[in-house]
């Protein structure tokens, strides 16, 4: 769940329409594969880390790697266009909640054909990559959401990081004032807003199959209360996660909900002192359930068996334990393999809190599979209705659940 721009999607959409007209096919190489194409949505500085991994693997396999980086929100549109033109890349990276939807279209090949299994990986990683019993995508490194807090502000106010919703609410209230909001998050009307609401919803027993439940309403009510307290900016309903980060780094937010992929951006502010804790739960006895984030690697069905076999070897190499560590360190993610994650967590203090979170994480597509986007739309719709005061949380959830 990296930052996405709607306009980038719009631009790609225009591109898609244009090229759909010129959808001529061009076949891939034959069995003596010398070049593999890889497509992902990594941007600087992550793209360099990934290219390093691709090239190391390519050298080991004796092939040249040609990597293309497509801006976040435009990736699926690009993949669809390539699917209709029959020139899908040999290895395709997908955001994990998209894997099942693309797999359901028949564009991907099962990873078992290349001897890849999810053994030892975090259960949510395998669940996210599996469609109808077969594994189609595997993520080398994953992430989730946690609470980032400004340690200076907390020390000054004599507070300790919150563990429960009540503490989060009272801490946020206390830290609000003088142009500072206690808490920043992304409540935007996109899947990004849904993703940020999930820790509250899932931890409290909410479920995406039916969002019109008291548990989900209670979670939404909590955010509405925080907003009514003035602890959350009303503008957060237009914020992406990168905007929440900007508020936090500018010292305008004492806490934020965000993920480890922001470590790199946070490092650019040496005067900003911060730390992370797992997202607070409503009661101390609840276990925090956070959504699984991260990108899975897949082998598209290009029709050329020989090349696909080599591509499978590349995916196997990218997802190997050694490269999981490289990617995790380079991007601020957690290795997807539980044993590897534990090892990295022991030596890396920043990643350590996320190791625990990821092991309990839940895949967004775990229950609904390819139907997840519909539920995700309902969730952010309800969230927007409630946060803007258009409806009470329970009415908003009821209305969104009933819509189609």
């Amino acid at each position: 769940m990296r930052k996405m721009t709607t306009l980038a999607a719009a631009a790609t959409a225009a591109l898609l329409i244009g090229t759909a007209l010129a959808a001529c096919s061009s076949g891939g190489g034959s069995s003596g594969t010398t070049t593999l194409t890889v497509e992902d949505y990594y941007q600087s500085p992550q793209d360099k880390v990934m290219e390093g991994v691709y090239n190391t693997c390519g050298t080991a396999l004796g092939v040249t790697i040609k990597a293309t980086h497509v801006p976040g929100a435009g990736l699926i549109a690009k993949v669809l266009q390539q699917a209709s033109a029959k020139n899908l890349p040999d290895v395709l990276m997908l955001d994990n909640p998209d894997v099942q939807q693309i797999a359901s279209s028949g564009a991907l090949s099962p990873l078992k054909d290349y001897g890849i299994s999810g053994d030892g990986f975090a259960p949510a990683v395998v669940k996210a990559g599996t469609y109808k019993g077969d594994l189609y995508g595997l993520a080398p490194a994953v992430n989730s959401l946690a609470l980032f807090y400004n340690t200076d502000m907390f020390t000054k106010a004599g507070l300790t990081p919150p563990k429960t919703w009540d503490e989060l609410r009272s801490d946020a209230k206390q830290l609000t004032g003088n142009g500072v909001y206690g808490f920043a998050f992304s409540g935007i009307n996109t899947y990004e807003g849904t993703w940020q609401f999930l820790p509250f919803m899932w931890t409290n027993g909410g479920d995406e199959k039916n969002i019109d439940t008291p548990q989900t309403a209670q979670a939404l009510q909590f955010l509405v209360d925080m907003m009514n307290d003035g602890s959350i900016s009303k503008a957060s309903i237009n914020w992406a996660q990168s905007d929440a980060l900007d508020q936090f780094t500018a010292g305008k937010a004492a806490m934020m909900e965000n993920g480890p992929w922001q470590f790199g951006s946070l490092a650019k502010f040496p005067d900003l002192h911060w730390a992370t804790v797992p997202m607070p739960t409503r009661t101390a006895s609840q276990t925090a359930v956070a959504p699984l984030g991260g990108e899975a690697f897949t082998v598209p069905e290009t029709g050329d068996r020989g090349t696909m076999t080599t591509a499978g070897k590349l995916v196997k190499c990218i997802t190997s334990s050694k490269n999981q560590v490289t990617i995790a360190q380079g991007e601020g993610d957690v290795p997807a393999n539980l044993a590897t994650a534990a090892k990295v967590g022991a030596s890396n203090k920043l990643i350590q809190p996320f190791v625990e979170v990821v092991s309990h994480a839940r895949a967004r597509t775990g229950e609904l599979g390819a139907d997840w986007p519909k539920a995700a739309t309902k969730i952010y719709t309800a969230e927007q209705l409630a946060l803007t005061g258009k409806a009470t949380p329970s009415a908003a959830l009821k209305q969104a659940q009933g819509s189609n």
Binding site: T6, L7, A9, A10, A13, L16, I17, L21, I76, A77, L80, Q81, A83, S84, Q101, I102, S104, S105, G106, A107, G179, I188, N189, T190, S233, K234, A235, S236, I237, N238, K252, E301, P373, K374, T377, T381, Q384, L385, L387, T388, K390, Q399, G402, S403, N404
Partner: protein, 321 residues
């Protein structure tokens, strides 16, 4: 020039041939017919390829279950009017329809009144008039992605320059939630679109004003018609054909506005700025249900078409008069 000469020469040949030998004349006429078609061919090919094909494709797509799967398998099962029923029955449809109407009416009224006032203003001769008029075109020259990003930043509730200024001069007691309140967001989006539409209105109306002969005003001023009366009885009647062009084109352009809304609010908050155009975009490029996206855009095309017909009829009546 040469083509006209050639054509004239050919028709002269034709008349001379017609009297003499019939079979050759028929062949020549056939050749003429063929030449005419050849001249038409580039234009026809262009229209079929770039207008006909997308429209036909969009119409057929709106009757198909055209989703992510279609791109890989090529299968798009026929669903009849299913897509139309689905989008019309959706709880969002009435909201988008009302928003589209409000957005279009608000934008057009604002753009036209401000555009006309500015055009009248620039008719007066004063220093730097030319430079100022050129500056007015600026919104037109900026890429929409850039200007919507800047507007989004200026309209920010907490630290945006608009609220800071209004607060500083005590016009408002509390920050206006421009883009974060469902009750205000549509107004904010309309304001930005008015800013964007002013250059178009000023340019066309100004050139219309230039075409009104100065003698009319001189004669009228002798009869005592100046100021408002001169506008009411000379400017407005003479400007009417231009006004109808500006308004109808404005409506058609405004109905399909997408980028400004996506850049500012993405259709939110709580769908308060969702129009037919943004919802069509959403169906197609977020949900990847291209059939339903096509259905919404066809509804939008029909509405635009209705206004285009109004425009053509107005034009014809103007000619008849």
């Amino acid at each position: 020039m040469t083509t006209i000469d050639a054509a004239a020469g050919r028709s002269r040949d034709l008349t001379s041939l017609r009297g003499a030998q019939r079979p050759e004349g028929r062949r020549a006429r056939r050749r003429l017919g063929l030449t005419q078609w050849l001249f038409l061919l580039p234009a026809l090919a262009y229209i079929v390829l770039f207008f006909g094909f997308p429209i036909v494709k969009n119409i057929t797509m709106s009757f198909q279950d055209y989703g992510t799967r279609t791109f890989f398998t090529g299968e798009a099962p026929w669903v009849g009017i299913g897509n139309y029923l689905e989008v019309i029955r959706s709880s969002l449809f009435s909201t988008t329809l009302i928003n589209t109407a409000l957005f279009t009416i608000g934008s057009i009224v604002g753009q036209f009144i401000l555009g006309l006032l500015l055009a009248l203003f620039f008719r007066r001769r004063f220093p730097l008039a030319g430079v100022l008029r050129a500056l007015l075109l600026l919104p037109w020259l900026l890429p929409l992605i850039a200007s919507s990003a800047v507007w989004k930043w200026m309209l920010d509730q907490d630290s945006g320059v608009v609220n800071q200024t209004l607060l500083a001069i005590h016009v408002i007691p509390a920050p206006i939630p421009w883009l974060s309140s469902p009750d205000v967001a549509l107004v904010a989006v309309i304001i930005v679109n008015i800013w964007l539409g002013i250059p178009f209105n000023v340019t066309i109306l100004y050139s219309g004003l230039q075409d009104i002969p100065g003698e009319l005003y001189e004669a009228a001023s002798l009869d005592g018609a100046t100021g408002w009366k001169a506008f009411r009885y000379i400017t407005w009647p003479n400007l009417r054909p231009v006004v109808s062009v500006v308004l109808v084109l404005g409506v058609v352009y405004t109905l399909k506005v997408l980028d400004i809304i996506l850049g500012l609010t993405g259709g939110g908050p709580a769908n308060a700025t969702q129009t037919l155009a943004t919802s069509s975009y959403h169906y197609s490029f977020v949900d990847f249900t291209f059939g339903q996206g096509a259905a919404v855009s066809n509804i939008l095309i029909v509405i635009s078409l209705a206004f285009s017909i109004v425009y053509l009829r107005l034009n014809r009546r103007a000619v008849d008069e």
